[in-house]
Amino acid sequence: MADNLLEVKDLRTYFRTEEGVVKAVDGISFNLERGKTLGIVGESGCGKSVTSLSIMRLIPNPPGKIVSGSIVFEGKDLLTKTEKQMRGIRGNDISMIFQEPMTSLNPIMKVGTQISEAILLHQKIGTTDAKKKAIEMLTRVGIPMPEKRMDSYPHQLSGGMRQRVMIAMALSCNSKLLIADEPTTALDVTIQAQIIDLMKKMRSEFGTSIILITHDLGVVSGLADDVVVMYAGKIVEKAAVRDIFKDARHPYTIGLLQSIPRIDQEVERLQAIEGVVPNQQEMPPGCAFYPRCVRATERCRTEAPPLESFDAGKRAVACWNAVKREAITMSDTGNAPMDGGKAK
């Protein structure tokens, strides 16, 4: 059996709004193996960030609430923990880095103090040792002149440097799980390359498992082992990273891959996915992707497809019309076969 660090089962996180209940995360299940990186991909509003906040138990209540499911971390369900127990887990066993490092650092506190604080809070060591450890962490994430940088305030650092500080802080307590929510989205591309490189190094050095949340398929393909694709609060496809990029089965995944301009391919016209994500009040009763789907049938309109496993349980897809068996062709274009509608 796989050694799972995290097992999320049938997680549902809903928000009460004036317009009604928004099912931000609506029954998702996935596992994260120890030492592996799982990419969660999807567009704005698909529920990927709410998933990560649910794992951290950071959903603001009200209006939000985890209404059902379980999040088992190292054999224990996080949803049964008290707030005090969670505080011991956050930043210690599970750390998180966000898209905009400026808003996640305290602007009136020196970065050195902030890192030391995290270490002091979670480890039984003295102030001097904590400071030493903080300097060591800054060195390891590649911040030049770490002793000097300890006394800098966040605004004195660039975006890339601030993200390095966040990573240093996240890893200073040897977290087993790092949740990275769009960690490079606010950064320039050359700085993004530095941070991706750093995350790879940290992963092999510390053996940290990572949940990488992003809309950028390029970033996922370079970092993740497995990928989960979300649409409108549900998982539509789950597979190893290579399968997602070489042999995607869900029309949404295929559409996403075809809609991005790529530097390694040249096309005259992009294959856009027509329409927009439906809002919660207009959510169709069947498959949420049905109004935008090129392969939609009558059944898709009325009946929501379940996430079905295939290929010996290695992958899963939620689509009535997707081919659910082992690869038929390994096309090299990144596009999966769209024909052969003989499901199962």
């Binding site: 591309v189 390359a193 390029g218 990029f245 301009p261 530097i263 016209r269």
Partner: protein
């Protein structure tokens, strides 16, 4: 599409902003031209001066020095009475579709305003023209009575494009028009911009940081670094045979959505220096792996290497 003569020629454009720390050299002597009917992509990272360039060219900022000729006329010496005529020909589409539309105006008023300002249609014909413009950008004629907040990001960007198109411009400056949008919506807007260009013989200056997007839409591309253009070439040449070490690093930094094609990246050290005190000589020398003495004190000249492939780097000589 066949490309015509140069519609815009920019010569030694400079823009310095005063700041307490010293003047910020946002744009520091750039020259380029845009041919009629083409898309010139302008790429670079934050603070390289690409957006400032766009704002100067539509006269939202005044340049510190330099010249720019649109259809042969100097745009920096346009008399204020003639400004309207210029603005009819050059329009801009902004990055943030949430910030660039007046929330208290209906979509019809937003798109109709340029028609009124420029006296383009009789009042009676306003409504049909607005509906025509809405259809042109893929929106519904009934959308004219709604307010911007009722639309998604992609739809708002379509409204912004319709507003720009209302005056039938020749040149549209697109300043990061798709970077605030989700990927599936991005493709819709890029396709729309391409269709409009073909149908209306538009010329684009397409400013963006996303190289894959710029590659897809542009005919030629210029790469900026710290207020300077370091390389200009046809897009195929630029991507197949980049000459400048910065261009090479930039191209290799782009994550390719293909797990089998994860090549060695050229990682640049550190961050871009401050535009308040840019490095002497070649501005890239502090982060360039190949820099030698000459790069530190002498600015490399922009020279041509092969068919309209321009690059400013000492290493090439």
């Amino acid at each position: 599409m066949k490309k015509g003569a140069a519609i815009l020629e920019v010569e030694d454009l400079v823009k310095h902003f005063p700041s307490p720390a010293g003047s910020v050299k946002a744009v520091d002597g750039i020259s380029f031209s845009i041919l009629e009917g083409e898309t010139l992509g302008m790429v670079g990272e934050s603070g390289c001066g690409k957006s400032t360039t766009g704002k100067i060219l539509i006269r939202l900022e005044d340049p510190t020095s330099g010249s720019a000729h649109f259809e042969g006329k100097d745009i920096f010496s346009i008399h204020k009475n003639d400004m309207k005529a210029f603005r009819r020909k050059v329009q801009i589409v902004f990055q943030d579709p949430f910030a660039s539309l007046d929330p208290r105006m209906t979509v019809g008023e937003i798109i109709g305003e340029p028609l009124l300002v420029h006296n383009l249609v009789a009042r009676k014909l306003m409504k049909p023209r607005i509906q025509e413009l809405l259809k042109m950008v893929g929106l519904d004629a009934t959308h004219a009575d709604r307010y911007p907040h009722e639309f998604s990001g992609g739809q708002r960007q379509r409204i912004g494009i319709a507003r720009a198109l209302a005056v039938e411009p020749r040149l549209i400056i697109c300043d990061e028009p798709v970077s605030a949008l989700d990927v599936s919506i991005q493709a819709q807007i890029i396709n729309l911009l391409k269709d409009l260009q073909r149908n209306h013989r538009l010329t684009y200056l397409f400013i963006a940081h996303d190289l894959a997007v710029v590659k897809h839409i542009s005919d030629r591309i210029c790469v900026m670094y710290l207020g300077k253009i370091v390389e200009t070439a046809n897009k195929r040449t630029l991507f197949d045979k980049p000459l400048h070490p910065y261009t090479k690093a930039l191209l290799s930094s782009i994550p390719v959505p293909n797990p089998d094609r994860q090549e060695e990246r050229i990682l640049l050290e550190g961050d871009a220096p401050s535009p308040v005190s840019p490095p002497t000589g070649c501005r890239f020398h502090t982060r360039c792996a190949y820099a030698y003495d000459l790069c530190k004190y002498k600015e490399p000249p922009m020279l041509e290497y092969g068919d309209k492939h321009f690059c400013a780097c000492h290493l090439l000589n």
